[in-house]
Structures are given as structure tokens and as C-alpha cells.
């Protein structure tokens, strides 16, 4: 068996293992969905009236703010789900079975790849579920073409991939689940200080660079453009560059952590 088919075969075995975990213990995945759904409802129904004045089209139309909000909530869902990945990697690394995998003639990276692919699938599924809630409370993306829909889905998957590799590194570098959950918190905090809830230009001047130059803002703006037809501009390329950069960084970081000598 050549090394590529070995990698594919072992990684899909590991993926099946992780999906089995997720299916057997769905409570963690579902708990992670609570935060984005709660934020969606809170901002749409409670803060929406006030917040909508900041989005720039002057009106206080709740459905306009809901449309503005949903792309940000979608990527916040991805961030939250990857915190779960960091935690489950940290838990898994403390399991004796990982040492067993290391003594077997299997593809070295398959353990991590299984986690990453599983997590990306979980992220996409979570975004679909949160999206369904959004549609149920009135979100519509009728202007988007099927190609834009596919691109939107692809963007969600790409962001998931990038954030998951970072989250896996965070999980590997954490001694236990609690530490992993703390270390991975930026994945949830970053979307809160992005353009998810209010446009960057509505923020205080000193804060605008923080919101502007971070991965979530260009990704959210791109998703917004794809779903709602707003201007994307160079944000699309910025989003893709951020994602590829983070994915590569996370991959190198994670594999070097995984391959370091075990005590």
C-alpha cells in the first residue's frame, strides 16, 4: 500500500472513530450550539432595535439587522465548535489508546487528520442547524445564486478547517480539558470583536484596527457578500489568505506537537 492510500485509509478509520464519539455523546456538540443560537435570538429580538441603528442604512428594521447578523453568527458557530475540538483533542491525548496508535504501523498523521475532518464536518453541520434557526425567525437569502450558496458553504468549510487546525494545536498543547477550553477561548472571543454585530466603521477609532485586521472580519464580510449581495471587494482574498495561513500554521504546529517525544 502506498503512503497516500495508507494515509487516506487510516485517516478515514480515525474519522469513523471520532464520528462514533460525536454520535454516542452528542451533548457536547449540542451544548456548543446553545451559545450561537442564544446570541442570535438575543441580538435579533432584544438588542436588535438599538443595534440596527449602527449598521448604516438608517432604519430600525429588525429584518435588515437580522440579515446583517446571521453571517457573523454562522462563523461564530464555527469558532465555538472548534473550542469543542480543542477540548476533545486534549481529552483524547490523555487516553492510553493514543500511545497504542503510536506503536502501530499506521499513517502517523491519521489521528490528527481524523480529528480535523470530523471537526470540519461538525462545524458545517452546526452552521446548517444555526442557519435553520435563523431562517425560522425570518432570515432570507433570496438574492443569492446557487454558485454563491456553494461558495458560502465552501467558505464556512475553509474557515472551519483553518480554525480547527489551530484548535487542535491548542488541544495538543493543553494538559487537560479545562486548560484546552481556556486556551481555545480566543476562537469564540475574536468573532465578538469583529464585524459580526456592528460594522467596523461604527466602532471607536482606536478599536477599529483590532476589528479590521483579524481573520473573522474579512471572512464575515465575504460571507455577507455571498449571501446578501453586499460588496466583497478584496475581503474575499483576504479571507482566503487568512484561512490558508492559519491552516498551514496550525498544521505545522499541531504535527510538531504530536511528534514530539512522549514522556
Amino acid at each position: 500500500m502506498n503512503s497516500l492510500s495508507l494515509a487516506v485509509r487510516d485517516s478515514s478509520t480515525m474519522l469513523r472513530r471520532n464520528l462514533l464519539h460525536a454520535r454516542r455523546y452528542p451533548s457536547m456538540t449540542l451544548n456548543l450550539l446553545l451559545t450561537p443560537v442564544m446570541l442570535l435570538l438575543l441580538f435579533a429580538y432584544v438588542f436588535g432595535g438599538v443595534m440596527s441603528q449602527g449598521i448604516g442604512d438608517g432604519g430600525t428594521d429588525r429584518s435588515a439587522y437580522l440579515a446583517y447578523l446571521v453571517p457573523g453568527i454562522a462563523l461564530l458557530t464555527v469558532g465555538g465548535t472548534t473550542i469543542g475540538s480543542a477540548v476533545s483533542v486534549a481529552i483524547d491525548m490523555n487516553e492510553g489508546i493514543i500511545a497504542r496508535f503510536r506503536t502501530m504501523a499506521i499513517h502517523r498523521g491519521s489521528v490528527l487528520i481524523g480529528h480535523v475532518v470530523g471537526s470540519v464536518l461538525q462545524c458545517v453541520a452546526s452552521v446548517v442547524l444555526v442557519g435553520a434557526v435563523a431562517v425560522a425567525i425570518g432570515f432570507r437569502s433570496t438574492g443569492a445564486t446557487p454558485v454563491e450558496w456553494l461558495l458560502a458553504l465552501g467558505l464556512v468549510a475553509l474557515v472551519s478547517l483553518a480554525l480547527t487546525w489551530i484548535a487542535v494545536g491548542m488541544g495538543l498543547s493543553s494538559p487537560n480539558a479545562e486548560a484546552a477550553s481556556n486556551n481555545a477561548l480566543p476562537l469564540m472571543v475574536l468573532p465578538l470583536i469583529s464585524s459580526a454585530f456592528v460594522p467596523v466603521h461604527a466602532m471607536p477609532g482606536w478599536f477599529q484596527p483590532i476589528a479590521e485586521y483579524q481573520p473573522f472580519t474579512p471572512a464575515i464580510e465575504t460571507l455577507r457578500g455571498l449571501l446578501l449581495g453586499t460588496e466583497i471587494g478584496d475581503k474575499g482574498w483576504a479571507a482566503v489568505a487568512w484561512c490558508l495561513g492559519l491552516a498551514a500554521l496550525g498544521y505545522l504546529w499541531s504535527t510538531s506537537l504530536f511528534n514530539r517525544d512522549q514522556k
Partner: protein, 341 residues
């Protein structure tokens, strides 16, 4: 220089495991200080030592989990440092801490192993079912492994290791924490595997376990092999068997000492240690002499040498290295000291 560890004949097959001058330290603390090992294919080898002697580290190096700082090792003909995947394809490892996936069922654990060994679906199912049967886990097969008892987890652990049909099996303290019944079951399992031609490398801190199972035993103490040989050879290392007579009457003690001038005297306890093999004949001689002298001992105890004596003699605190002088392994200080730098 490896050949000086143990005499070998020219026709001997290549050893399943061999190591020369293995060294490892963690954060400045030396855990393995140049050990040599040689395990013939098809035999059972026990690495015996107290906690912290370096047993687990030795297993981790030989099973490619950690890299040695110095020395080299070959397992199944492959160098552990340069050809780890060759080693991994030939070995099965059951570590000290259970290596099962607690979140999925016993059967799912077995099928996971079958998939990772690239067995065809049908074949994998067959092997899994057979091993679950063999290890008496059929009833528990559908339950999550984290609900298993310690003994069941250990059995599942070894069953998973056997899915790949390994030629060489590493068992790190396979019976630690098991109740006596599970321990004996584990011993039976190991004997059955050996009968099928598997080479077994086990570590243990139990002397009776090494005595029961192993063809050869190496006593590891403080990162060095203190002695190596069969159980019989090791028992010969320590002055062992004796009959201990204790008296309460000093005059009876005095009379008895005259009869056994070669005995070791303990004047304070009024006790004599008479060298003896503990056989019926030897005991009768002692009793007959006591009768003919007309003295009566208050207490008579027979002590036969066992691995405990060897163990305590070799691993006690303050024991100088290679104190026994019998079959000391060659030291590699010259070579490995350079490696360390």
C-alpha cells in the same frame, strides 16, 4: 561486544529483541544507564525491577514510543531509531495504562484495530469475534469499555493488541492491579501465546510472575541490569536455603551450637541458621541431631531461596552495582559516555 551479554551458539536464530548500551535521561535524571538485552525469538523475557527502575522506559524505547539518548536497539531485525515502522509492523504493545477507547464498545474497539491493520471487513469481524470469545468478553462486547472492570479492560487491551497477530509482544506490567483470579487468567493467556510461537517481553515487579512465566529474567535496578539469567541461575546468586532454630533456653542454645559449628549464630536471639536445601532428608538430619543431643528448639523454620532473596539482595538501597559478580553484563561506559556528550 553485545555477544558478551549471554553466550550464544553460532547457529542461534537472530534474536527477537536486542539492545546494546541503551541510555535515556529525562531532564537530567538518568533513567536507563546503558542496558544490554537479548531476547531469543519464541521465548519469554521478564524485566524485573522495583518502581522507578526504568522498566517502562525500556519498553517505550523498544516499542518506538520514545527515542533513546544513546545505544541502539533492534526489534524483529529492524533498528528502532531508523526503521520504526518495520518494528511497529512486527510488535504488539500493551502498556501499563489501559490503551482502550473508553467511549466506544469493546467490539468497536476490536473492529477499530482490525481496520487499522487493514484487514478486510469480513476477516476483521471474524478475528474480533474470535478474540472476544477467547478473552471471555462476548457478553460485555456491546458495552462501552469505560464501564469495564480493571481485569476486563486489561483483557480487552491484550485482545486488541493481538488483532494484528504480532510476532513480538511487549507487556508492561500486565497484571498490576488485577485480582488473583484475573492474574492467573492473564498468565494462562501469556502461556498460550508463547505456545503459539509469540515472543513475549514483559516487565513486572512481581517475582512470582517472572518465576512463573519467564525463560530469562533481567533484574533492572536504578537504570542498570543488576543480574540476568534463568530463575534457577538467579536463585543461585544469593546464599539462600537454611533451617533456622530458635531456643529460649541459653544452655540448650549452647549445646546446639556445639553440634553445628558451621552454622551462623545469632547469640542475641538465641538462634542458629544452618545451611540446608530444605529437603526432607536434610530436615530429618537436623531433627535427629537435636534428639541425640537431648535439646529442644522452640521454633524451627525452613527457608528456601526464592527470587525475593535475589531481588532484595540486588535492588536494596546501597547495594553496589554488580555486587554479586556473577554474570555481570558488560558495561559500555567508554562508548556510551562519548555518546552522551
Amino acid at each position: 561486544m553485545a555477544s558478551s551479554v549471554m553466550p550464544t551458539s553460532k547457529t542461534a536464530p537472530p534474536p527477537a529483541v536486542s539492545a546494546v548500551g541503551l541510555r535515556k535521561s529525562y531532564g537530567g535524571k538518568t533513567v536507563l544507564d546503558g542496558i544490554d538485552l537479548r531476547v531469543p525469538a519464541g521465548s519469554v523475557f521478564a524485566l524485573l525491577g522495583p518502581n522507578g527502575a526504568g522498566k517502562t522506559t525500556a519498553v517505550k524505547i523498544l516499542s518506538t514510543l520514545v527515542a533513546a539518548d544513546g545505544g541502539q536497539a533492534q526489534v524483529a531485525g529492524h533498528n528502532v531509531a531508523t526503521s520504526p515502522d518495520g518494528v511497529r509492523a512486527a510488535i504488539g504493545v500493551t502498556g501499563q495504562f489501559s490503551a482502550v477507547d473508553g467511549l466506544i464498545t469493546g467490539e468497536e474497539n476490536m473492529l477499530l484495530m482490525a481496520d487499522l491493520h487493514h484487514l478486510p471487513k469480513r476477516e476483521g469481524r471474524r478475528v474480533a469475534a474470535e478474540l472476544l470469545e477467547l478473552f471471555d468478553l462476548v457478553e460485555a462486547a456491546g458495552k462501552p469499555a469505560q464501564s469495564y472492570s480493571g481485569g476486563m479492560k486489561r483483557r480487552l487491551d491484550i485482545a486488541m493488541t493481538l488483532v494484528g497477530n504480532p510476532r513480538i509482544l511487549f507487556l508492561d506490567e500486565p497484571t498490576t492491579g488485577l485480582d488473583p483470579r484475573s492474574r492467573h487468567t492473564m498468565w494462562q493467556i501469556i502461556r498460550r501465546l508463547v505456545a503459539d510461537g509469540t515472543t513475549v517481553f514483559l516487565t513486572t515487579q512481581y517475582l512470582d510472575e517472572a518465576d512463573e512465566l519467564a525463560d530469562r529474567i533481567a533484574v533492572l535496578n536504578d537504570g542498570r541490569i543488576a543480574a540476568e539469567g534463568s530463575a534457577q541461575e538467579l536463585k543461585r546468586l544469593v546464599p539462600g536455603g537454611h533451617v533456622r532454630l530458635r531456643f529460649s533456653d541459653p544452655s540448650a542454645y549452647g549445646k546446639a551450637t556445639a553440634f553445628w559449628p558451621d552454622a551462623t549464630r545469632d547469640d542475641e536471639a538465641l538462634a542458629l541458621r544452618i545451611p540446608s536445601d530444605g529437603s526432607q532428608r536434610a530436615l530429618r538430619t537436623v531433627l535427629d541431631r537435636l534428639d541425640s543431643a537431648g535439646v529442644e528448639a522452640d521454633e524451627l523454620a525452613v527457608h528456601t531461596p526464592d527470587l525475593d532473596d535475589v531481588f532484595f539482595a540486588l535492588t536494596g538501597p546501597g547495594v553496589p552495582r554488580h555486587a554479586t559478580g556473577i554474570q555481570p553484563p558488560t558495561t559500555h561506559t567508554d562508548q556510551t559516555a562519548e555518546d552522551a556528550r
